[in-house]
Amino acid sequence: MLRQTVRGKRLVYLDNAATSQKPGVVIDAVTRFYTSENANIHRGVHYLSERATVAYDQARGTVARFINARSAHEVIFTKGTTEGINLVAQSYGRTFLKPGEEILITEMEHHSNIVPWQLVCEQTGAVLRAARINDAGELDTESFAELLNERTRLVALVHVSNALGTINPVKHLIGLAHARGIPVLLDAAQSAPHLPLDVQDLDCDFLAFSGHKVLGPTGVGVLYGREALLERMPPYQGGGDMIAAVTLEHSTWAPLPAKFEAGTPMIAQVIGLGVALDYVGQVGLQAITAWEHQLLTYATERLAGIEGVRFIGTAKDKASVLGFTLEGVHPHDIGTWLDDSGVAIRAGHHCAQPVMRHFGVPATARASFAFYNTREEADILADSLIQVKRAFR
């Protein structure tokens, strides 16, 4: 994948915040499942079904270790971060929120951590509040603390901003919320690929991430939930696999985690995700964080040397996401020109329109690095950007 040429040039893949590339072992695991292990889980008494069930359940154990959950049944498989957040909004929010009560988010959320709360606010009469960000793209923690009040019932917070790269001081923020007894959901879509996650150390109550951004297949994600909360929540969807007993009048629910996994799940993808997380573990998240930080620092220096480049997101604590604009050139034109040099970046509002509004730009260009990127690729990005600038002068 990464060795191919596009438009006659070597591919430089810098759109990792959108989705990561997949290691061979992950692709092999998914292929092997479909070529020699495919069966439905939790039903059949035959050999293949038993094997598929074991592999599926083992992957849950792998995820639990990856995020240091107390128990594997606190790990719910979803189709991605978005579904995890929607699950909490609909199952927890819709059940427990009353008119006038508040949900607190921040101005730097991805749309997937805004819209599910807007929907539940419409359904319950609850109110959505958002803490401000400053011009470096950092969360204004005073604004956050001020907005926490006796009406706040839930905080939903991004760990690493997809548009700005900002790493939020989530442990501190969770502490502030917990001091008032308010549970916190962390959107870990962008942190899972880059930072070690430990739900016990962070002390978050919910955490959602997507498999495909952390070397896994698309169509699978994880929602971690604190057992006591998950136990109190009603099912999100009804169907097979999530019941204890069904009559035509009434059903009772299966214990965790099956209560939240109605229907045949994405078995191959879950198995692929388990392999991906093992792979990440072998590379080592400490090493990944360190190398990506070097790449970010180097790419930032190179781009800073190009006149007209403005960085959007200059937080002190940043993951390897580089959002920028180039004076006189629209981000989409940057994207198309870089593509012609084989460089894949994202251009647009990054599903974070409130962030774009804060910075007064309709869109940005975004280069996002993974541990398999190199300094040479950062050079190609910078050199290609210089060509764009010349062309549009």
């Binding site: 989409h332 034109d333 020109w337 647009g348 309709p362 549009f392």
Partner: protein, 149 residues
């Protein structure tokens, strides 16, 4: 690079840098907001209609080079034309940017022919078409909001 330079022809870069008919139109009797929600492009188009004739037209907005240059060249192309002529031109433009225009028709496109390279970039067809969709909406009614979605 050949593919790229056929998209970003010099005329497109020039019109992006200094678009024609840019700014608020006084005495307009039609105004339309157009947007491309996926990429955030947005544009306001003003028309002064004299019966069926487009007496004057102007636009403002933010967008990529393709969408700005397209709005600039569209406004120049339809100014003074009547409604039917403008709609026919839009139909031909739509075919041009999707690569389905007959050779014989392409010779009638004038400066708009610089957008032929767009047909190689399916995702940019919306950029090139936004101002035309706004024009169509403005011809159909006085104050509307249109979107490429």
């Amino acid at each position: 690079m050949a593919r790229l330079s056929s998209l970003y022809q010099d005329m497109i870069l020039d019109h992006n840098r200094s678009p024609q008919n840019y700014g608020h139109l006084e005495n307009a009797n039609r105004r339309v907001e157009g947007s491309n929600p996926l990429c955030g492009d947005q544009l306001t188009l003003w028309l002064r209609m004299d019966g069926e004739r487009i007496q004057d037209v102007a636009f403002e907005g933010s967008g990529c080079a393709i969408s700005r240059a397209s709005a600039s060249l569209m406004t120049s192309a339809v100014k003074g034309k009547n409604r039917d002529e403008a709609e026919m031109l839009f139909e031909r433009f739509r075919k041009l940017v999707t690569g389905t225009l007959e050779q014989s028709e392409s010779e009638t496109m004038g400066k708009l022919a610089v957008f032929s390279g767009v047909s190689e970039y399916p995702v940019r067809v919306k950029c090139a078409s936004l101002s035309w969709h706004a024009l169509k909406a403005a011809l159909d009614g006085p104050d509307t909001v249109v979107s490429t979605e």
